[in-house]
């Protein structure tokens, strides 16, 4: 028999049993949708924590304030020295004028402050180097470096940003959460996969006698397996599409709350929309693989007649 005809028959039979066992199909799809939902949520959660950590780390810096009138070339030399350090990720130089502009911009609604600034006549702000470290625990050593004798004449003060320590501790906590979160995610995903697998197994268990009869009537293994694989793949596709259809508005509703709560500026919904096809593709891949593989494994044990 031509392969195309076999595939047609197998597909038709798979679709037919899918429709006729409507209730069972619905139940299986629900469980698979739940599995895919859990996995997608874990993915999104990972995105949130990652951006949270990134955000926090990005906020920590060391500011080096130079004494008024320190020549630019001296500052440039310090900058070069600092940039040599392996711990340093970036160094940003802010001239007094720039600092003033930023200050004015930030307080443009406060005419009193601006007025008194104007009365002062000269720019009271100092030239600054803002230094960011690669890791949060490296600030101490950078600060130590800047406290050397040779820099004393130039530097007015070295300042961790006020909440550096809190932020540092928080980010190490988050790091810990992420690590245990990864393990937990893995366990959760595994549980979800197992539940889906067992649901499909149960569905096929109800057909075990039929499989036996098909074997005895002389159906080849692929002819028996095929319809179950078709149904399994169909479960996966519908489950993935359902999950996405549910997740899209949910993320849309929850995203602003998350951004507000964590103050991260992470827009989960934007992320979701931006990566929509990738996420949908992943969900489909998980659904199809899970459906097909579970069916394959579940049918196998009943083919031994």
């Amino acid at each position: 028999m031509p392969l195309v005809e076999t595939i047609k028959r197998v597909t038709r039979s798979g679709l037919q049993s899918f429709v006729r066992n409507g209730w069972l199909s619905t139940a299986t799809i629900s469980v698979m949708a739940l599995t895919i939902f859990v996995m997608t949520s874990l993915l999104l959660l990972n995105v949130i924590t990652q951006s949270l950590i990134f955000n926090l780390q990005d906020r920590i810096d060391i500011s080096v304030y130079f004494k008024q009138g320190t020549p630019e070339d001296e500052i440039a030399k310090v900058r070069r020295d600092v940039e040599q350090l392996t711990e340093v990720k970036s160094v940003q130089y802010v001239t007094p004028d720039e600092a003033l502009a930023v200050f004015k911009e930030r307080h443009k609604d406060n005419p009193l402050l601006l007025e008194s600034l104007a009365e002062l006549g000269e720019n009271p702000l100092e030239a600054t180097l803002n230094i960011k470290a690669r890791e949060t625990d490296q600030f101490a050593s950078i600060a130590g470096f800047l406290e050397r004798e040779m820099y004393k004449p130039l530097i007015d003060k070295v300042n961790y940003s006020q909440n550096a320590e809190v932020i540092g501790r928080l980010s190490s906590i988050i790091g810990g959460i992420r690590r245990s979160g990864a393990i937990l995610s893995f366990v959760l995903a595994a549980v979800a996969v197992l539940v889906a697998f067992n649901t499909i197994r149960l569905a096929i268990y109800t057909a075990r006698d039929e499989i036996g009869v098909m074997r005895l009537v002389g159906a080849s293994n692929w002819f028996i397996r095929g319809p179950f694989l078709v149904a399994g793949v169909l479960y996966g596709i519908i489950a993935a599409l359902t999950t996405t259809a549910v997740l899209l508005p949910v993320v849309g509703a929850v995203s602003p709350k998350i951004s507000g709560f964590l103050l991260t500026g992470t827009n989960l919904f934007a992320y979701f929309k931006q990566n929509f096809w990738v996420i949908l593709g992943l969900e489909l891949a998980v659904g199809i693989a899970l459906g097909a593989l579970s069916s394959y494994i579940a049918v196998r044990r009943y083919l031994k007649v």
Partner: protein, 226 residues
Amino acid sequence: MIKFDNVSKIYNEHAVALEGVSLEIQPGEFVSIVGQSGAGKSTLLKMLIAEEKPSAGRVFLDSIDVHQIPLAKLSILRRRIGTVFQDFRLLAERTAHENVAFAMEVAAATNEEIERDVPKVLELVGLKDKAGNFPRELSGGEKQRVALARALAHRPDIIMADEPTGNLDPLNTWDIIRLLMKINDLGTTVILATHDREIINTIERRVVSLDRGRVVRDEARGRYIL
């Protein structure tokens, strides 16, 4: 040619179903297997399609040892044999028509053949009107006739019918037996397991009598004697 060579089947110490059965069946023969309930008739038939493995001895079909065939290849053997199971074993989720069509699909019949033959075969067993019924919507006798239709439809070399008339009234019974004999006349080997004395005594074909797992009689024009 079918050959049972010293076949024994011991399910467990209380159930010795077959003991040293040797038997040859030539192509085109019509053989009835008779014996009391529990004599081992069904077990003997199951050996031929490798539904059960013999505890000892060998079973050959065209000099191929049936029980040496790997699981994945058994389908090829089974397609050559149309089986009417004592307990019917219809596919519960498929209609009468689809059950019969399934056997033909398996045997690689074309769609045209299926469309043409399935209604014909169903008509042959008197179930033209029940084509769309699921097994649960059929009476015992009707299920039995669907099972027979499924066994015939793909024109196998051998038909193996285990009590195919067990649930039928006399009129239907004779229709079925006549049908089997006609198919046999067309060259198909028929193996019939039954306890129906009247059938055996009327058709005057070869009869193999089993008693507690042993062949006690094998006559070319046998009668039903217990």
